[in-house]
Symmetry: C2
Subunit: 203 residues, 2 copies
DNA sequence: CAATAAAAATGAGCGCACTCATTTTCTGAA
DNA sequence: TTCAGAAAATGAGTGCGCTCATTTTTATTG
């Protein structure tokens, strides 16, 4: 197997990387992003202060490393949840509802995370975000495809643009929710209104 | 007039505030946001270092103060530009094109600004962003209203949700452009595709 | 098993955003 | 005019993200 093929050097790097990410996840969720210092992460991971920055160029990058895998899972779960509904609109709302529920476990952290996701610097992190977006838009496109087969969506509708627009509408309102412009009931109402308007146009 | 009614204290505050904002604008555009230190702004404005932070709670807040007025103007200009086109889709694309042109004068700064606008902390700044959004969505709603009168948009279409969704689609792609996921031609194509899809649904 | 080179880790140090105890400026009452 | 109290400005200080010259660890070669 691949692990055996790794030398001590590679193995140590993987271990250290995993320890740093685990320590960061733990501290971020317990003390918040701003409330956690890079030194604390280093201490918890058992490395020197500078070492953290050989695995993540900035503290912000660390945030993405930490939540990337977790969010991939959430997207998958959202897709499964969505299929409980029968109408496309309800499916899409269930899909985004799962994402929001995830964010609501820790709103300040979600705020920091979304802010960071929207404007990534390092190209390594961009690849992670791209992967995440591809997965997310792909799931939405699946839902649209199924609805198209059942006649709820016009046959000529291009699926990726439609999926992108659905997400764009969600993303816009999510920003409002996380920034405090919208409370949850208003968010739900606005999201349903706007997604409904869009999907009616596709029928 | 109002100016006369102000005491020395109020007048000084206004002067200082204006000097700080002007100095910040100048330095941000010449040296970039990260390239400018709060001390440089203070020096250029002729105040002590700490004084800057009595007018803006953070350096990020300063960014919003600096560009708020400017962006209101750009939105107004975008609205005027939009009316040169005859089709609604072209109007909306011209509208957003003006905004993009503004951002393209300084992409790194635009990136920082958009990132900040999306997730504002202080409530004073939130009021500014709200004002900006209201102006922007209002203009889009005007365009939709005019198109509705000419029959290009279904009579039953709720205008604010439609305007919000148009902006959401633009905002999503703008993030891609500013973060380097999209170059300008791809951005233009994606925007036209997605806005077109949405507007066709309103017809 | 050296000897050498390359990679990785280290931690003291730096720059900058932001704070806060102190000082200065202003106002309105006596 | 004087003066007390409030508001605002000040700038030295603090903490933290991040850097980088140095040290330590690992791989390679003879």
């Amino acid at each position: 197997m691949a692990a055996v093929a790794l030398g001590r050097r590679e193995q140590n790097k993987l271990d250290k990387r995993a320890r740093i990410i685990a320590a960061a996840r733990d501290l971020f969720t317990r003390k918040g992003f701003e409330g956690t210092t890079s030194q604390e992460i280093a201490d918890a991971a058992g490395v020197a202060g500078g070492t953290v920055f050989t695995y993540a160029r900035t503290k912000d990058d660390l945030l993405i490393l930490v939540f990337h895998d977790e969010m991939l899972d959430v997207v998958e779960r959202a897709y499964v949840d969505a299929q409980d509904a029968s109408q496309l609109l309800d499916q899409v709302i269930a899909f985004f509802g799962t994402l929001v529920a995830y964010h609501e476990r820790d709103l300040p952290l979600a705020r920091t995370l979304m802010r960071q996701l929207g404007y990534v610097g390092a190209s390594e992190q961009r690849a992670l975000v791209r992967e995440l977006m591809r997965g997310l838009l792909g799931r939405l496109a699946f839902l649209l495809d199924a609805a198209q087969a059942k006649g709820g969506v016009a046959a000529a509708t291009p699926l990726m643009p439609a999926a992108r627009s659905l997400f764009a509408i969600y993303y816009f309102h999510l920003g409002g929710l996380l920034s405090g412009y919208l409370d949850r009931p208003r968010f739900d109402r606005a999201l349903r209104t706007d997604l409904g308007l869009f999907l009616r146009g596709l029928a």
